[in-house]
Structure formats: C-alpha cells, structure tokens
C-alpha cells in the first residue's frame, strides 16, 4: 500500500511539479479550443462550398476529406512537424498540432455536414425555391438549420475523439498535459506526475463523454 502511495500519489513530488503540469493543462485547453473552432468552422465552410456542386472544386474537397479522414492523426502531426521543414515550412509544436488536428476535424465535420445536407428531403429545396427564395437563402435559412441539427450527435462524438488527440502533441514536444507530466516523471524518477495528468484528463473529458451520451439520446434517431 505504502509503495503504491509513494509511487503514484507522492505528495512531495506532486507539490513540486503540479505548476508545470497545470501549465500543460492550459496548453491542452488552448489547443483543443482552437482545433474545435478551426475544424468545425472549416468543415462547415467546406460543406457549404460543396453544396454549389462545382466539379473541379468538389474534386479538391473530396481529396481533402478522404486524405484527412484516412490518415492517423499522429502521422499527420509527425509529417507536419518533421517533414514540412524540408520544404522550407517550419512550424512550432503548438502550430503544428493545431493545424494537423484542425485539418483532420475539418475533414470529418465536412463529411458529416455534407451527409446531413444531402439527407434533407428534396422537397425542402423545391418548396423554398417555389416561395421565391434564392439558392443561398434556401441553403442558409432552410437547409442548414435542419442539417446542423441532424449532424449534432455524430459531430459531438467525432469532435471529442479528435480533441483527445491533443495528447499526441507530446510526440512533437508540445508541453501539454501528457508531455509536461512525462518530463516531470523523467526528472523525478517517479510516476506521480502521470497520475495527476490522468486525473486532469478525466476532469476534462469525462463530462464531455457523459454529455455526448445524452446528446445522442436527445438528438439521435427518432428525435424531432
């Protein structure tokens, strides 16, 4: 028992290193917030652009969506951070993580929004046009409000899954929760900082995970 307390909940070590790990907590929050804004905003913009059904543009969009839906997040982060410098583009760990995860989320969000837009019955378009609404007002005032509601459960789950990827930033030495806990563990030769990191992840993600179950029930199949 003592051994476990000493190793995993060592108060002396925790008091020494918690400021660094708390700093990491804020880095994680900042990265997650930026990824959500860039990813969902970008995804919505891509879905709207796709609704115009311009052939060349759609080919580019489908390429973007397929690429970032297919690649593992960590591979994208590593390529952005370690390979791009050879092409003359050097990014900070923070920028590389935000950019990589933002691109991944934008691809998933775009696909979800597009499916949702396409699942709105054709009659909605036709009746809005018959009432004299143009293409854009129909899209923004009639179709999107319904489509976004349909997209919410899938989008929530996907967003949570991707912002959990902020921990992957530690692979490119981003000092987020996991990264700062690992350096503290290395210096202290004691895994208590990891316990603190685990607790912080629970505080951050457990409410989101629990909430996502209720959102799914509230907005899921059968909801009107």
């Amino acid at each position: 028992m003592d051994r476990i307390a000493d190793n995993y909940f060592n108060l002396a070590i925790l008091t020494r290193y918690y400021p660094a790990i708390l700093d990491g907590f804020w880095v994680t929050c900042a990265v997650a917030a930026l990824v959500v804004v860039a990813g969902i905003g970008g995804g919505l913009a891509i879905a709207v652009a796709r609704a115009f059904e311009k052939r060349a543009l759609n080919a580019v969009i489908v390429g973007w969506i397929d690429f970032f839906r297919t690649m593992p997040q960590l591979v994208v982060i590593v390529i952005v951070y370690f390979a791009l410098p050879y092409g003359g583009i050097t990014l900070s760990p923070f920028a590389a993580t935000v950019l990589a995860l933002g691109a991944v989320l934008s691809a998933f969000a775009a696909e979800i929004f597009t499916s949702a837009i396409q699942s709105i019955p054709r009659g909605q378009w036709d009746s809005a046009r018959a009432l004299g609404l143009g293409f854009l007002p129909t899209l923004f005032l009639v179709i999107l409000p319904q489509a976004i509601r349909l997209a919410i459960p899938l989008l929530t789950n996907r967003t949570i899954a991707i912002i959990k990827g902020t921990a992957l930033g530690s692979a490119v030495s981003l000092p987020e929760i996991l990264g700062s806990a690992q350096s503290a563990m290395a210096i202290a030769a004691n895994p208590s900082p990891l316990s603190l990191a685990a607790a912080l992840y629970l505080i951050l993600f457990l409410p989101l995970v629990v909430a996502s179950r209720f959102i799914e029930r509230r907005f899921g199949p059968g909801w009107r």
Binding site: R3, I4, N7, Y8, D66, F67, R69, T70, M71, P72, Q73, L74, V75, V78, I79, F82, A83, Y86, G87, E111, I112, S115, A116, Q118, S119, L150, L154, A161, K164, G165, T166, A167, L168, S170, A171, L178, Q182, M185, N190, P191, L194, S195, A197, A198, Y201, L202, F205, L206, L208, V209, V210, R213, E216, P221
Partner: protein, 226 residues
C-alpha cells in the same frame, strides 16, 4: 524545374527509399499485427460488456457504464504511457507490444461497449417479451433475437470505430515499438531525408483508404435512413 528537382530529392528520394524499404516493410507487418490482435479483442470485450448490460441489473449496469466512460475519457496515448511507464514502478513490466494492445483494448472496449449497448437498447422491449413468451431462455433470447437486430443497426459506428482503432495503432510508436510510423521516423534519422516518412504516409493511405470510403458510405446511409 530547379524547385521540382529539389522537392523530389527531398520528399521522393529513390536512393533513400531503396535503402530503408526493408525497415518500412517490417514496420508495416507490426502495424498489421497490432490491428489483427487488437480489433477482435476489443470487439469481444465490448460485446461482453453490452450483453452483460442488457440484463439490466442496476448495480452491474452502473459499474459497466463507469468502465465504459472511464476508458473512453482517456486518450489512448495517455493509457499507453500509464501502462508502459507507470506500471513498472509496482513491478509490472510489459513489453511495447503487450502494452500497446492493453491500452488499445481498454480504450476501445469502452467504445465498442457503448456502440453495442446503444444498439441493444434500441431493440424494442417487446421483442424480448415475445421471445420469452415463446419459451426462449434469457441467453438464447439475447443471441438469437436481440443481437441480430442490434448488430444491423450499429454496423456504421462499428466499422468507423474499427478504422479508428487501426489508425490509432500508430501511437505504439511512442513506446519505441517499431511499427510503421516508428520505423519511418528511425529511417528519417538515418537518411536525413523525409522520404521514408512520406512513404509511410502513402502506405497508411493506400492501406486504409478503401475502408475510409466504406465507412463514409455506411455512415451516409445511416443518416439518410433517419
């Protein structure tokens, strides 16, 4: 022309590729092995959780939901670091492969469990009552009546989660397991050239793209059916 030459030299360097491709191939093999072990294992544990949940024993269900949400809340990498670097301090040392499998299965059995659970709960209670009325015992009722209907409803999220699991095997590179990504990074350090990394990217894409398309199609069909 000069620019293109420089670009190819850096990102598609044949000399570098011929030197490192055995390493990449070895990495690919390990990635496939991780996926082949982790996907069935996590699916099985998830299915067991969901079946246990379907009997609606209150205390058991609370425990199962806690398990599901607890392990879904951690990023896989955090679980992996806890297992690989944390456990040795109490004398439990796992090699990279076992640690990666354990972390992947803990996290994904939560995801699979939630998917199966939601699918089973969506089957109307009347199906179960009718099966019981026909004289089926609880277990045959679950396996012959409830599960077949539940599975059909959750094919899309199942496929999507399995794809995500295979993609997540790349985190094993963080505990020095020489799977595809790790091999590529080692090769990058040997050749001072990002070609191996680009090659690994291409391998991941070629390997996973058909599945990504399939998942997209299944998800789309599910949304339209609503």
């Amino acid at each position: 022309m000069e620019g293109l030459h420089l670009f190819l030299d850096n990102f598609a360097n044949l000399a570098s590729l011929t030197r490192v491709y055995p390493l990449l191939l070895q990495g690919l093999w390990l990635t496939v092995l991780l996926a082949v072990v982790a996907v069935p294992l996590a699916t099985a544990v998830g299915l067991l959780i969901a079946i246990a949940y379907s009997f609606h024993r209150r205390a058991l269900n609370v425990a199962l939901l806690v398990y599901i949400d607890f392990f879904r809340s951690f990023p896989v990498l955090v679980l992996l670091v806890l297992v690989f670097f944390g456990l040795p301090f109490v004398g439990l040392t796992l090699d990279g492969f076992s640690a990666a499998i354990l972390a992947l299965v803990l996290n994904n059995s939560g995801y699979y469990g939630e998917i199966f659970r939601a699918g089973i709960e969506a089957v109307p209670m009347g199906q179960r009552d009718a099966a019981r009325a026909l004289g089926l015992r609880p277990l045959p009722t679950v396996f012959l009546v409830v599960l077949p209907q539940a599975l059909r409803a959750v094919i899309a999220p199942l496929a999507s989660n399995s794809l995500e699991l295979v993609k997540t095997t790349a985190v094993a590179s963080m505990v020095a397991l020489p799977e595809l990504l790790r091999s590529a990074r080692v090769a990058l350090e040997q050749t001072y050239n990002p070609t191996p990394l680009m090659a690994a990217g291409v391998i991941y894409f070629v390997l996973l793209w058909p599945f990504a398309r399939l998942v997209a199609r299944l998800e789309r069909r599910m949304l339209t059916r609503q």
